[in-house]
């Protein structure tokens, strides 16, 4: 970001007055956003804010290498607006949501269909794309799955073993969380944030708490920030271990699958050592944390962590030794770095395409401003790369926890949280990728 931008700049986990967000007439706003994306910005979010009879569109951009976010908006508009998706594919889902929530039509959107609209007692899914041909077969999966997993419907278009196309509909999960946020925070808000996705309870709760703190122009005490960082890394360990077990299971390699199933539970039990709940419910609260990690508890955690990490390393090691696994991981489901950039990929999936994108590093907030974890990147973009990134992150995560558990900062766990300033506008970019929260007057 060598040149200046007309967007307002904002650091992660901070807030700014809503009145200072620049606004353009909608066509100019789309042009300005497209221009920033063309010179390397990433679209974090794009959404509508009701303004009188119209809707203001808002775009939040990330300049990852400059560790800065940028925000801009349109003046109130209605009817149609020129589609950004036609120029930048990463806007496609945001524009579908704007269309669904506010009735604004993105003119020129190549594939407009509902995100989570419900029709009666089922989602209002659009027509699924079909590949024609005598050799083609279609496989429909879900919304009730063979395993134990959240609902979603998948349509595969296959030619023999080759999957030509996959279309995903996820509206089955719609519980009205975003709608319930307005006028909040309510007494159910925190538990609703924690249950957006159970396996990322801590990431979502931390995003919510950080946002509330940013609105109140305050911060949680350092010890609470440290504790959140530890809990978040435990969550990462559990999820990566579970994912690697699932990858192994999906290529019918059962030794790693069954070992990782148990090891994931061992990591979840370490989270429950911290707060009683295996998913970290109730640990993070706006203003701080509810439970402390006393020296004896930290020592127990360190003791229990070491053998689980060793077992995990061993179970994952079997994957790389097995020719049958490598043959099914390598050159499968490849996403190039250019494609990853184009669709705005983040998280381990982006890092497995060789992109250096890690919110702990690019947009460090909380404890990660003081204690950095190295960014784990693996080129290739295939299933093998995605497995490698996870296994390397498990190692680094273990090292990070080993260091941090031995060096707790002193101080309290909870600070006074002033009431949120009503005209401020916060931003929190979450490591969970999905947790992007914003409130407005």
């Amino acid at each position: 970001m060598s040149a200046s931008t007309p967007f307002a700049l904002l650091a992660n986990a901070t807030s700014m007055p809503w009145a200072e967000v620049p606004a353009w007439p909608v066509a100019g706003f789309i042009d300005a956003t497209a221009a920033e994306l063309s010179r390397g910005a990433r679209l974090c979010a794009m959404f509508g804010v009701p303004a009188g009879a119209g809707v203001q569109l808002v775009a939040v951009l990330a300049f990852d290498t400059d560790s800065i976010l940028a925000v801009g908006s349109s003046t109130p508009c209605s009817g149609t607006f020129p589609s950004l998706t036609a120029r930048h594919a990463q806007a496609h889902l945001f524009e579908r949501e704007i269309w669904e929530q506010h009735g604004l039509t993105p003119d020129g959107h190549p594939w407009l269909k509902p995100v989570r609209r419900t029709a009666g007692n089922a989602p209002a899914n659009g027509e699924f794309f079909r590949v024609a041909g005598g050799e083609i077969h279609e496989v429909a999966v879900g919304p009730v799955h063979a395993g134990i997993i959240e609902p979603g419907h998948f349509r595969f278009q296959c030619a023999g073993e080759e999957v030509l196309h996959l279309e995903i509909a996820l509206g089955y999960q719609h519980r009205g969380i975003e709608e319930a946020l307005s006028g909040g925070p309510h007494r159910a808000t925190l538990i609703q944030m924690e249950t957006i996705a159970g396996d990322t309870t801590l990431a979502h709760a931390t995003a919510h708490a950080t946002l509330m703190e940013a609105l109140a122009a305050s911060e949680a005490p350092l010890r609470a920030q440290w504790l959140r960082a530890i809990a978040l890394e435990l969550e990462r360990l559990a999820n990566h271990t579970g994912d690697l077990g699932a990858l192994a299971n999906d290529v019918a390699f059962l030794p790693t699958a069954s070992a990782c199933g148990k090891l994931r539970g061992d990591f979840l039990n370490l989270t429950s050592l911290l707060c009683g709940n295996r998913f970290g419910r109730g640990l993070v609260q706006p203003g701080g944390c509810r439970h402390d990690l006393e020296p004896a508890r930290a020592a127990e955690m360190l003791d229990r962590l070491a053998p689980v990490l060793a077992d995990t390393a061993q179970a994952i090691g079997w994957l790389w030794d097995s020719a049958s696994v490598r043959a099914r991981f390598e050159n499968v489901g490849t996403v190039s770095a250019a494609q990853a950039s184009e669709i705005g990929l983040v998280g381990p999936a982006a890092r497995a395409c060789g992109l250096v994108r890690d919110v702990r590093y690019d947009h460090a907030s909380g404890w990660h401003r003081f204690a950095q974890a190295p960014v784990t990147v693996w080129p290739g973009g295939d299933v093998f790369a995605r497995a490698r990134v996870r296994s390397l992150e498990i190692q680094r995560c273990g090292e990070f926890l080993g260091e941090q558990l031995k060096a707790p900062p002193a101080g309290g766990l909870r600070g006074e949280l002033a009431p949120a300033a009503p005209t401020r506008w916060p931003w929190r970019s979450s490591r969970a990728g999905g947790a992007k929260c914003a409130t407005w007057p």
């Binding site: 959240e150 538990i191 996705a197 159970g198 069954s258």
Partner: protein, 264 residues
């Protein structure tokens, strides 16, 4: 090489499945707290201190009546335990919470200080399912925490298969459903069709605050406030999510397997 290593590893580790239910149950984490106990006699006159603390509105107190705590709706945050000036609501540390009837989860009335634990299925169903129960799991808008703690029962540590209980990939192969999530409107049709596809006689198990009462999403127009609004429920297992031990206890209680395990 890896085959050799894998086998050596397995031999070294031995059996990793827990001794429960023949042996003692594994301890809950010290901060878990287990089921709640309500002693309404302790409540101050007209004290309603706990009512606004509950994030899901699980606690009610009508004027002149005893306090009522609905453990089905409870997310076990313990805000009421910390906020009660009389210590009328306490944590028992007990993992056992599964019940057969929705009312058995409502605490507070005289004689109802604790949950009324589930009785086994009747003799006819027990004969059919007692030694072999095949379940189809339906996540009806769950957040994946209940799903994860149900899944973990299939891992080597818990080994649900040793009780003859198994999750199957088709409702046609199933004896019943295990439902998680508040039953979003978008999942209502899918749940109904799955239920209809299970051959009779069949049972339904609701796991977690969402599936029992809507949990954190109770009252949202996008959800049904639990499975019972759509299908008849035979077993309720509360929690957010329930600890795997609580789920296992519920399943074994329903199949009368806890007694059998202790006798052998």
């Amino acid at each position: 090489m890896f085959i050799h290593d894998t086998l050596i590893h397995r031999l070294k580790r031995g059996c990793e499945t827990m001794a429960y239910p023949k042996g003692p149950a594994p301890a809950l984490p010290d901060r878990h707290g287990g089921a709640l106990h309500v002693d309404a006699a302790q409540c101050g006159d007209d004290c309603r201190a706990c009512v606004p603390l509950c994030p899901t509105g699980a606690i009610t107190r009508e004027f002149g009546q005893a306090v009522g705590l609905d453990l089905g709706r409870c997310v076990f945050c313990a805000a009421c335990v910390d906020g009660c000036p009389q210590q009328a609501i306490t944590r028992t540390g007990d993992h056992r919470m599964a019940v057969r009837h929705r009312d058995d989860l409502v605490l507070g009335a005289p004689g109802h200080q604790q949950v009324r634990l589930a009785a086994a299925l009747d003799a006819k169903l027990l004969k059919l399912f007692g030694r072999s129960l095949r379940l189809r799991q339906v996540s009806a808008g769950g957040c994946n925490a209940c799903e994860a703690d149900t899944n973990v029962l299939g891992t080597i540590g818990w080994d649900l298969g040793r009780f003859g209980i198994q999750f199957v990939a088709s409702p046609r192969h199933a004896d019943g459903l295990l439902i998680t999530g508040p039953v979003s409107k978008a999942m209502e049709l899918a749940l109904l069709k799955t239920y209809e596809a299970v051959p009779a006689p069949k049972i339904v198990i609701a796991v977690g605050a969402c599936a029992i009462a809507g949990g954190p999403f109770v009252g949202h127009p996008q959800v049904n406030d639990g499975a019972a609004a759509v299908v008849p429920v035979d077993l309720y297992i509360p929690g957010c999510p329930p600890h795997p031990l609580t789920i296992l206890d519920g399943l074994l209680r329903l199949l009368d397997r806890l007694e059998i395990a202790r006798q052998t």
